[in-house]
Amino acid sequence: METLWFTLVATMIALYVVLDGFDLGAGVIHLFVARNEAERRTVLASIGPVWDGNEVWLIAGGGTLYFAFPALYSSSFSGFYLPLMMVLWLLILRGIAIEFRNHLQSLVWQPLWDTVFAAASGLLAIFFGAALGNVVRGVPLDRSGEFFLPLWTNFAAGKESGILDWYTLLVAVAALFALTAHGALWVALKTEGEVHYRARAAALRVWWGVAASVVIITLASFHIQPHLKESFAERPWGYVFPLLALVGLIGMRLLDGRRQGLEAFLCSCLFLLAMLVSVAFGLYPYVLPSNGDPAFSLTIANSAAAPYGLRVGLYWFIPGILLAATYFVYTYRSFKGKVIL
């Protein structure tokens, strides 16, 4: 039952990354690929009807994590206190930037909100990457499964490190590259003309960054977190996930070159999903490893809610999430094709 909920929560978070990932990435390239008001409106219209729904996956995923793994939720949210609060501020600024931008027409109003939108999007990609890096590296959990990390200390990726060290910064950079490429492919898919060509060019250029950083963080992760190696050695069928990620990564490049926009974007989705599943598979059964005494690590068993709650949760979760998926299919279908202003 714990494994089932681990899979469900991990899937929701992975879906969040894939879905909100493209509108974050669109934000990163916004100022570069769209240079006048009409082009900026086009980029924003390409995410306008869906970004809010995409973000709900974070809220719903957070809520599901809260009820299925309360000890993990409370330990990680209080331990990563400062960066999480900054994530909240960035989410607020970004949401306001998208929603308020078109309420006034002025030569200072739109550039201001476009810049806020772009900066907040890029920083969020970096923060989410650093968060993932922290989960892989492990945190100094104490006997009661709690910790508190400062933002940075000596950047050594050791037991005394803060949230940012050389390893988590690498993951942050990789996340920025990956989400930027993802967003660029989305914008290229949804637009025509100048914006389309610039977005495709951006995707091709950023791809090299994605490829290089993925090689580096893969090597670094096996070095930092020995449990990854054990997991893959114990259950070799898990190699299928990194393999799929590789297929996605190569597909992004090849298909984009052949002007198959949708296929290239789906390859990027596959790449992100398979990378995240690889991490989840490699860490399992840990959900938050300790980088001190391994006995203090949080696992699916010691952080899950009681069996009755997990069982009864399934009765409403399954119909609820199917309903949500229906709304998503409906929204995306009614909004398919290129953006028309």
């Binding site: 409370s74 206190y81 809610a305």
Partner: protein, 442 residues
């Protein structure tokens, strides 16, 4: 300041600011649905114009509600980790259900409602409005169910290490606390929305602009406002008070400023609680009224604060007492003011009665104050408990988040929310200035 105080202020500030927006949008969703229904039934395009104008104001407030709402869910983990660890298996259910059942619904169909009027046709657009209304009222239910469990925990059992285990799903969702609190809260949001609507309508009539719309807004605002203001007092407020008498008698005594247990207890209208001498200074009281309101008998015994051990008293009784009295006082004034406006509306003279229009226009901030005071009453009344009878407030805080870190983020939220408030007011003011006549179908 010690860490506990900062964490409490942190949640109090962010939730108070957050709820300024949903209390308008939940009520407004209903009123927009009423306007859309009138448009559909009469075929009069005037009501669609009116609905489009309120949809714009709704959209600004909804965006503010969404972005300030995300920090609420996060703060359970960041600032109240021990509480979340113990109770997450129970209230995590209702919070996750809110995400799965209402946020997906709202976020999907708000876009359809805002951008799809031309494409959908009138009936489907009405249905989109209905789904937005349904999503926001469902969201309200799950939050009230969460709060109700903290006020009056049900459906749980205690584990060997003090963890709180969910024992009955329906016990959680059918908590007897929910019924009156949910109705009281949702009708409260209708009060806010209808007062805002009447106020802006009165503003248009007084400034001789958009007068056709001004009359519609005043009429709908006054009719909905009168009904809602009455329902706030009876039966919902009354029902909530009776719940308190049985489930939180200490809170009831503190709210009323009743120190001594009394047969035929008086109802204090005014007065200041003197905590040192345990009495109410300068009391203005209605004899025996508290006994009657609580137990329907003039001579019934109502327990005073002295009947309960001091360590079970709410920790800030004056604040609790004042916020309760502000809520009830304003609620009573609302009934009087709206009844007067409704009477003149019925006589057909309201639109030209300038003093009454001035009154309606100036009423705008007061439902916000009454609602905020009501929530302060509910949450200060729950003290000293975080989960009533199970966990005291100091036991729920995140032990490793220092007061310095919490002050840093509290100041961050204060600064950010000040800017948001200014921007929100600017944009709403611009929409009011532009007025409904501009709003052709999109």
């Amino acid at each position: 300041m010690d860490a506990l105080t900062v964490h409490r202020l942190h949640f109090a500030f962010t939730v108070t600011f957050h709820y300024l927006f949903p209390q308008l949008t939940m009520g407004l969703a209903l009123l927009i649905l009423v306007l859309k229904t009138m448009a559909l039934r009469t075929g009069n395009e005037h009501y669609n114009h009116a609905a489009r104008f309120w949809t714009k104001i709704f959209a600004v407030n909804f965006a503010m509600g969404v972005v300030t709402g995300i920090p609420m869910e996060f703060q359970f983990g960041t600032n109240w980790a021990r509480f979340s660890k113990a109770a997450g298996g129970v209230i995590g259910q209702t919070l996750a259900m809110e995400g799965v059942f209402s946020f997906f619904l709202e976020s999907s169909f708000l876009g359809v409602f805002l951008f799809g009027e031309k494409r959908l046709g009138p009936k489907a657009h009405w249905f989109a409005a209905f789904l937005v209304f349904l999503g926001s009222w469902l969201s309200g239910f799950f939050i009230i169910a969460t709060d109700a469990w903290m006020q009056h925990p049900t459906g749980y059992s205690l584990g060997p290490n003090g963890e709180i285990l969910l024992r009955s799903f329906w016990g959680l969702l059918l908590n007897p606390w929910i019924f009156w609190q949910y109705l009281h809260n949702m009708i409260g949001s209708v009060v806010t929305a209808s007062f805002v609507m009447a106020s802006i309508g009165a503003f248009y009539l007084l400034t001789h602009r958009q007068e056709e719309f001004g009359r519609t807004f005043v009429r709908l605002g006054v009719i909905a406002g009168t009904i809602a203001a009455c329902l706030m007092i009876f039966p919902t407020g009354d029902g909530q008070g009776k719940n308190l008498a049985y489930m939180q008698p200490t809170t009831l005594a503190a709210m009323e400023g009743l120190f001594e247990t009394a047969d035929g207890a008086p109802l204090a209208i005014l007065g200041q609680p003197d905590m040192e001498q345990r009495k109410l200074d300068n009391p203005l009281e209605v004899p025996r009224a508290l006994s009657f309101l609580t137990y329907q008998r003039w001579g019934a015994r109502v327990q005073g604060l002295n009947a309960f051990p001091r360590d079970r008293w709410p920790d800030n009784i004056p604040l609790l007492y004042y916020s309760y009295h502000i809520m009830v006082g304003l609620g009573t004034i609302f009934v009087g003011a709206m009844a007067l406006a409704a009477f003149t509306l019925w006589r057909g003279t309201l639109y030209t009665q300038r003093p009454l229009l001035w009154m309606l226009m100036l009423m705008l901030p007061f439902p916000y104050i009454a609602t905020t005071a009501g929530w302060v009453t509910a949450e200060m009344g729950r003290q000293p408990w975080l989960i009533y009878g199970i966990m005291r407030t100091p036991a729920g805080v995140s032990p490793h988040v220092s007061s310095g870190n919490a002050i840093f983020t509290l100041l961050g939220f204060m600064g950010l929310y000040t800017i948001l408030a200014m921007l929100g007011l600017l944009l709403v003011y611009r929409e009011i200035e532009e007025g409904p006549a501009h709003n052709a179908a999109q």
